[in-house]
């Protein structure tokens, strides 16, 4: 297949190695004998979302997030249409908040989101920073990662993580985290979420294939470093979570 991945605001929303998610996804899709094009979109640049197989935005500072939102809001209708058509998308870190109804900053100013999800984010002066060890209903093994956010998100009915043995969920310590609806994946887990979670990467790839009505090849390459990296982190976090 010829696949197009769109990476929104790679400089503006680039905290914590966010680019690694796209880089690794492109590699895996290429290894599955696809021809992959990654299109980067900066503020003010055009993007044909209808022709895309994957939309991505990474984490940014709270100020960068507002600048990204100003450019992204007019694209809201196209993004919602793409989601309705089954286009796979991942919004990581503070980018997740753009998908909701609104974002209220620490000074109390409220910004309109694109309304793909029915949730609202309220940013504060306190930061929730730390490792995350959670569960998802996408697969059985744990989800691992790291969060670095200052938002409490309310109104998510379909979270990506059903609970966190370690970490602050959307609204509370240990609670459900992120947002997942059909082909839309969103999480405040920052950085290379797909690198750290090979099964989450697999779920994203499966979603991309599903929209194309294609089956994933029976023989898929092995990635032992990624698997081992996940296993060690999961082991460390499980131990830590057990001590709580």
């Amino acid at each position: 297949m010829e696949l197009k991945l769109i990476h929104f605001y790679p400089d503006l929303m680039s905290l914590y190695g966010s680019y690694a998610n796209v880089a690794l996804l492109a590699r895996h899709l290429t290894d599955l004998n696809n021809s992959v094009v990654v299109q980067t979109v900066r503020p003010g640049e055009d993007a044909d979302l209808a022709g895309a197989d994957f939309l991505y935005m990474g984490a940014g500072t709270e100020r960068s997030q507002k600048a990204a939102l100003a450019d992204f809001l007019p694209r809201g209708e196209a993004v919602r249409a793409a989601a309705a058509a089954g286009t796979t998308m991942l919004f990581a870190g503070t980018a997740m908040e753009l998908l909701g109804k609104s974002i209220t900053d620490a000074d109390g100013k409220t910004y309109e989101g694109i309304g793909l999800g029915g949730f609202s984010s309220v940013q504060g002066k306190r930061r929730f920073v730390g490792d995350v060890y959670g569960s998802t209903d996408l697969y059985e093994p744990a989800v691992v990662g790291f969060q670095n956010k200052c938002s409490v998100i309310s109104g998510v009915d379909t979270p990506l993580l059903t609970g966190c043995a370690m970490g602050f969920g959307n609204e509370r310590e240990g609670g459900p985290e992120g947002f997942h609806s059909g082909s839309v994946f969103a999480s405040e887990l920052t950085g290379p979420l797909l690198v750290k979670n090979p099964l989450m990467l697999g779920a994203v790839i499966a979603s991309i294939y599903r929209r194309r009505n294609e089956a994933i090849p029976a023989e898929i390459p092995a990635y032992p470093y990624e698997e081992n990296g996940y296993a060690i982190t999961a082991q460390q976090l499980k131990l830590r979570a057990g001590q709580r």
Partner: protein, 443 residues
């Protein structure tokens, strides 16, 4: 009475604490419990110089102390590295009389950037150097703009800010502040038309978030920036590196002050310039400052020479979770042009807190090791697999990479053969795991 008691307990606690390794923070912590406003009750020296920022604090403070002492001043500073309010309190009270008068001409403070506002609640620096603000220890710091917001309340209107003109973010501290002196590096042999590093934090203006342009870069977002939208731009400098030749190791300040570099890196140039600038602001003659920092070898132990088997080794201590610190050392290795093996160790991400967070590996420009003189790279420690995934995106040929989750096994492998130079890049949290297995050379 509470003041006297706090000083007495702090002095005693410091004396006893030295024997149990808790002499730097704990006595100050106890003193603050006895007398919470003790820092407003002591008489401090005429000059209180503080240094904060993401990188270069320790090196800059060490050089400032050396220059001021050469100028005949009595300097007290937190050499033990405790840079939060408890450590600062210990330092001040243990160097004070029982009446509460500090016995020094200069109080020099390396301040933790996140806690600066807390440390300077009861007194404020007369000169405040802010070296830079980068991505650093995101497990503690969030991100650079969060740190900026944390430092801002620490800045008193009477404080003279000594700022890095080449950093678009930390230069914003000058907005609305009257007393500012600037240091910076002119366009010279090290300047480039493109930014270095994996990410580009200088792409957007920190004030208005519009795209910025650069006349030149020195590294990452450091350079001559200009925002066409709001006008935020590199200001005119008061203390200026007018020329740098890293090949010969010479830098020139303000056209006529020539300094030989013991450690030939652009980051060292900025540290030297920051130290020089604040000392000049504090009244030190240019000749005195120059004499001290000429060929100055830092004593902070971040670079260690050793032998391991047939290898002559150099440990370059970086900070995990700090991509610029890593990039500094990787650039040093690349520019060494020495046939070498490089070992990167990530075993414990931090010695102070638990985390399995490794996303910072993706912010490090490991592709700098993709050069002919780097013969192989050993990826060592618990997170060797994460390193291997990261390195698979650097362009380094797979046959140059070796995985050694066990650090002892990596050392044994090096002992078994080879005589090429060895560079080891790791953090304070992991370096003793190497140093316990090598023969150190005297500094």
């Amino acid at each position: 009475m509470r003041k006297f008691l706090a000083i007495l307990v702090c002095k005693l606690g410091h004396f006893v604490g030295k024997f149990i390794g808790k002499g730097s923070s704990m006595p100050g912590q106890v003193a603050l419990k006895i007398c919470p406003d003790i820092l407003s009750r002591v008489t401090l020296p005429e000059h209180i110089i503080a240094v904060t920022g993401s990188n270069g604090k320790t090196s800059t403070v060490e050089m400032i102390a050396a220059i001021l002492r050469a100028d005949g001043r009595t300097v007290v500073y937190n050499e033990e590295g405790s840079n939060q309010i408890e450590g600062v309190t210990t330092m001040i009270l243990t160097h004070s009389t029982f009446g509460g008068r500090m016995k020094a001409d200069v109080l020099l403070i390396e301040s933790d950037e996140r806690y600066a506002a807390h440390s300077f609640r009861y007194f404020h620096p007369t000169e405040f150097v802010i070296t830079n603000l980068y991505r650093d220890q995101l497990t503690r710091n969030g991100h650079p703009e969060w740190v900026y917001d944390a430092i801002l309340p620490a800045i008193h209107p009477d404080t003279l800010l000594v700022l890095n003109a080449d950093d678009p973010l930390s230069s914003c501290f000058a907005n609305g502040h009257e007393k500012v002196r600037w240091f910076g590096v002119n366009e010279c042999s090290i300047s480039s038309g493109t930014p270095s590093g994996v990410y580009h934090d200088g792409a957007y203006c920190p004030v208005c978030k519009s795209p910025m342009t650069y006349d030149y870069y020195h590294y990452n977002q450091i350079g001559a920036y200009r925002c066409p939208s709001c006008g935020h731009a590199k200001p005119k400098t008061d203390f200026t590196v007018t020329d740098v030749d890293l090949g010969s190791g010479e830098l020139t300040i303000d056209g006529d002050v020539r300094i030989q570099l013991a450690f030939r890196s652009i980051y060292n140039v900025y540290n030297i310039l920051a130290a020089y600038s604040v000392c000049r602001c504090a009244g030190v003659a240019s000749e005195t400052a120059c004499r001290v920092i000429n060929n100055y070898i830092l004593k902070n132990g971040r670079m260690v020479r050793f032998t391991l088997g047939g290898h002559r080794g150099t440990l370059l201590t970086s900070k995990h979770e700090n991509s610029i610190a890593y990039d500094t050392n990787l650039r040093y290795i690349r520019e060494s042009n020495t046939e070498c093996t490089v070992a990167v160790i990530v075993d414990a991400v931090s010695r102070k807190y638990f985390t399995s967070e490794t996303s910072w590996l993706w912010d490090i420009d490991f592709a700098q090791l993709d050069c002919p003189h780097v013969q192989r790279v050993l990826l060592c420690g618990r997170y060797a697999n994460d390193l291997a995934v990261r390195f698979s995106f650097t362009g380094l040929p797979q046959e140059k990479l070796e995985l050694h989750p066990d650090i002892t096994e990596a050392c044994d492998s090096l002992k078994r053969g080879g005589s090429e130079d060895l560079f080891v890049v790791t953090c304070f949290s992991d370096r003793d795991k190497l140093l316990s297995q090598v023969q150190r050379e005297p500094v």
